[in-house]
């Protein structure tokens, strides 16, 4: 085993049952070159202070549980390594802009409610029975939406979006990327049903094009792209309404 060195980890702690507001607390953690920030937190919980609260599971940047602010940046703690943060101290706090439930645990419910509201499932363009086999979809058609399927719902993009921090009604980057994923799928015919969600005040027009969401995304989903190309779609939809007053959007 590599020789451990100590590193100071400062955590923004908050317990709703006895803290009026969050406060920083510092821990000394032995750290080897291959240790992630998550492993640092696990050391604190296992050996120093069992009351520390944080979510984690897969350890391989795919379950989306362990997002947090590491030195002010939204990161997955499992794929952020202490060696890159030497000599410390490392400052860790709950994902920005989201309500803190306890310590590093934020409220995920708002996000999931939005995700549920955008009809995030295939609304078939042409229904097909199982006996007819799979829909045909060429690799080129798959490429048109594949990157948007890679979202792991880690919400780092929400912590990167000041608009969401200022107005938590905004549907936000990740969920709009998911909406676009279905609209852009050659098998899907649900765009007209989802369009009112994008057109609404909490839809794409709330975005002020900061672009940091795409910068912090650990899976290169590029949610800013999904949001901003739908501004054009939404604008077209708005003007087409005057041309076809019965609401026959494309």
């Amino acid at each position: 085993m590599p020789e451990p060195k100590n590193i100071e980890i400062c955590v923004l702690r908050y317990h709703p049952e006895h803290d009026p507001e969050p406060a920083w607390r510092s821990y000394q953690v032995p750290c080897t070159d291959d240790m992630s920030v998550l492993q640092g937190l696990q050391h604190i919980k296992d050996e120093i202070d069992g009351t520390l609260g944080f979510r984690w599971s897969c350890r391989m940047a795919i379950c989306g549980s362990c997002g947090m602010m590491v030195n002010g940046k939204p990161r997955l703690s499992c794929q952020t390594f202490l060696r890159d943060l030497q000599p410390g101290p490392v400052r860790i706090e709950a994902l920005a802009h989201l309500p803190i439930e306890r310590d590093l645990i934020v409220d995920v419910g708002e996000f999931v409610n939005k995700l549920e509201a955008i009809k995030p499932y295939l609304i078939p363009r042409e229904p097909r029975t199982l006996a007819e086999g799979e829909y045909l979809q060429t690799p080129a058609q798959l490429e048109r939406f594949e990157q948007y399927t890679s979202c792991i719902n880690c919400m780092l993009c929400y912590a990167a979006c000041p608009e969401y921090g200022l107005n938590r009604d905004f549907i936000g980057p990740g969920v709009i990327a998911l909406l676009h994923r279905y609209n852009a799928d050659s098998r899907d015919g649900g765009q007209a049903q989802r369009q009112p969600i994008l057109n609404a005040e909490e839809g794409v027009w709330s975005c002020m094009a900061v672009g940091y969401c795409s910068e912090v995304c650990p899976k290169q989903v590029d949610p800013a792209n999904a949001v901003n190309q739908n501004k054009a779609v939404s604008a077209r939809d708005y003007f087409l309404r005057f041309l076809a007053p019965k609401g026959a959007a494309p």
Binding site: M1, P2, H15, P16, E17, H18, D34, K45, D46, E47, D49, G50, T51, G53, F54, R55, W56, S57, C58, R59, M60, A61, I62, C63, G64, S65, Q79, E101, R102, V108, G109, V112, L115, K119, P120, Y121, L122, P124, R128, L130, G133, E134, Y135, L136, Q137, T138, P139, Q141, L142, F145, E146, T149, S150, I152, N153, L178, Y182, D185, R187, D188
Partner: protein, 598 residues
């Protein structure tokens, strides 16, 4: 305590739980479904499955071939009628996932593509790049949102089943955000909580894979079947145990020892050829590959790394372009976690615990020997994996048997009324008091992490790739001691809101029970079969005495009682498990025999 009443309750919202919920909602929207998970559904460990899901697809493939690969791969400890049903349903489930939007990787003509996988004779593994489980889980979760009859209880931790009048009638859960209790009354319950890989030290599993559902059923008298069979995945990251999918080898990766030699040819898996041949060399089954590593290590032909002895997974000859297209996540993992560019250097790997073949005893229709209880997925032993699971059969299992569990639990729910509220309420109060007692333990006891570490180390020492009676006995003794010490486990946190330490303590109890079932089942099986390999005079398979399922029964405070049950053999009599050139010869002989009989 809050009370909710539903027709069917499903514990666990990973692939199997979601598939079951959708099956119920689609077939009968009037039935209410509670979907309970200690995490949000998309965090479930199905998310980490990489390689793919098996289903006979190509014109030159047959259900027969998938059946034989699975039964031989499981060293004939499979329920053959169940395997037959499984292979028959597999393709339809893949198409169903496609209709729900799963972004399967495609061939240029637009059809779903299939890749080669270990132990599979013909390419039949459907895949979505190297994130198949991730895409399946998100597709299922998002599809489940369509159905208003599915009521989710996200971040609810199930602490006990409510069993009354000889049947399961619901469960008690902690709402994690408040630490309050919620009784969910149900006419039937499906357990879909996944495996128990966290009982071992080095494992590929997420932190949530703690055998909760297995332990819940076990404590209520349901036997855990075939628990001694624990799969070591041969290519994992040293230190963390994170997985490098078998698809690395399906795409043509090599396993090399310290001399750069493809050592698998020395273990009956050859001949070594430059491109992958199915069921040979690197595409042999996982148990054989992990065992070969063990032998190489003993011969001093492995490389020393900071986290133990390793061999090399060499992907360099595939080239960066193909790696980025077919194995993007593997590429990212190697670069970020190990600082290794797989296009330029071989990846150091070693075997780590990956999968529990055994689980809650279930008949071919997923029913447990407790009325109203069903199980699906890794927590369940429906009988298709036998003594060793083939890669890409488990994702298919989630779908095929998730659906069956949903249909069966729904059918049962229609036949029984809800039980008497007073009796169920009283049982729930008792379970609540037991869970709260942990919070009230005096301080000065044992730390959770200490017990967990000792358990995991002991399991690795006694129930690893190769086993001996002495080492297994030592593990059994150690587990008994840990069970005693567990009663004095203490927690720092006595609050209720988001008390994750409290949940860890309860999980440790689940882990210890499952660990005992594994260790005692292993000790009692005096033969070698599949992933259970002994060095102490039981190195051969012994069909005369052990062509049987082991059944571990919970027995109060003592160790589990081990019994045995029959194995259903239909078409395939136990034969020699051969791979590589020898395997092809054996296959030809089998076909010739069958032609004569036909």
């Amino acid at each position: 305590m809050d009370v909710a009443e539903v027709d069917v309750a499903i514990v666990g919202a990973g692939g199997a739980g979601l598939r079951a919920a959708i099956a119920i909602a689609e077939s009968d929207p009037s039935l209410s479904v509670a979907l309970i998970s200690k995490v949000y559904p998309m965090r479930s460990h199905t998310v980490a499955a990489e390689g793919g899901a098996a289903a006979v697809t190509q014109a030159h493939d047959t259900l027969e071939a998938h059946f034989h690969d699975t039964v031989a791969g499981g060293d004939w400890l499979c329920e053959q009628d169940v395997v037959e049903y499984f292979v028959g349903q597999a393709h339809q489930e893949m198409v169903q996932m496609e209709h729900w939007g799963c972004p399967w990787s495609r061939k240029p003509d637009g059809h779903a593509n299939v890749r080669a996988f270990g132990g599979m004779k013909i390419e039949r593994t459907w895949f979505a790049a190297d994130k198949t489980g991730f895409h399946m889980l998100h597709t299922l979760f998002q599809t489940s949102i369509r159905y208003p009859s599915i009521r989710r209880f996200d971040e609810h931790f199930c602490v006990d089943l409510i069993v009354e009048a000889g049947r399961v009638q619901g469960l008690l859960a902690i709402e994690i955000a408040s630490g309050g209790f919620r009784l969910i009354r149900a006419r039937s319950v499906i357990i879909a909580t996944g495996g128990a890989g966290r009982v071992f030290r080095e494992n590929t599993n997420g932190g949530i894979v703690t055998g909760d559902g297995m332990a819940l059923a076990y404590r209520h008298g349901v036997p855990l079947r075939d628990m001694e069979f624990v799969q070591y995945h041969p290519t994992c990251m040293p230190g963390t145990g994170l997985l490098f999918t078998e698809a690395c080898r399906g795409e043509g990766g090599f396993l090399l020892n310290k001399d750069g030699y493809r050592y698998l040819q020395d273990y009956g898996l050859g001949p070594a050829e430059p491109t992958p041949r199915n069921k040979a060399m690197e595409l042999g089954p996982r148990d054989r590959l992990s065992q070969a590593y063990w032998h190489e290590k003993r011969k001093g032909r492995t490389l020393s790394g900071p986290h133990g002895e390793v061999v090399h997974l060499d992907l360099r000859h595939l080239g960066e372009k193909r790696l980025r297209e077919r194995l993007p996540q593997i590429y990212e993992l190697a670069v970020q976690y190990l600082g290794v560019d797989p296009a330029a250097a071989p990846i150091p790997v070693l075997p780590a615990v990956h999968y529990t073949m055994g689980g809650i005893s279930a008949d071919g229709l997923t029913a447990a020997p407790l009325a109203g209880l069903y199980s699906a997925g890794e927590c369940s032993s429906v009988g298709i994996h036998g003594a060793n699971r083939l890669g890409s059969n488990s994702l298919t299992e989630l779908l095929v048997f998730g659906r069956v569990a949903g249909m069966e639990a729904a059918a049962y729910a229609r036949t029984v009324p809800h039980g008497a509220p007073t009796k169920i309420g009283a049982l729930a109060e008792e379970a609540r008091a037991r869970a709260l007692a942990i919070l009230a333990r005096p301080s000065g006891g044992e730390r959770i992490a200490t017990l967990r570490r000792e358990m995991a180390q002991s399991m690795e020492d006694g129930c690893g790739i190769y086993r001996t009676a002495a080492a297994m006995q030592a593990t059994c003794d150690k587990l008994a001691e840990l069970q005693q010490r567990y009663r004095r486990v203490q927690i720092d946190d006595r609050s209720r809101v988001w008390n994750t330490e409290w949940l860890l303590a309860i999980e440790l109890g689940f882990l210890l029970d499952v660990a005992q079932a594994i260790a005692h089942s292993a000790l009692s099986r005096r033969e070698s079969r599949g992933s259970h390999q002994r060095l102490d005079g039981f190195a051969e398979r012994d069909d005369a005495h052990f062509l049987k399922h082991s059944l571990a029964f919970h027995d109060g405070d003592g160790p589990p009682r081990i019994a045995y049950g029959p194995v259903k053999i239909t078409r395939s009599q136990p034969g020699t498990r051969a791979y590589g050139a020898a395997g092809e010869q054996a296959d030809a002989e089998r076909r010739a025999r069958e032609d004569v009989h036909a």
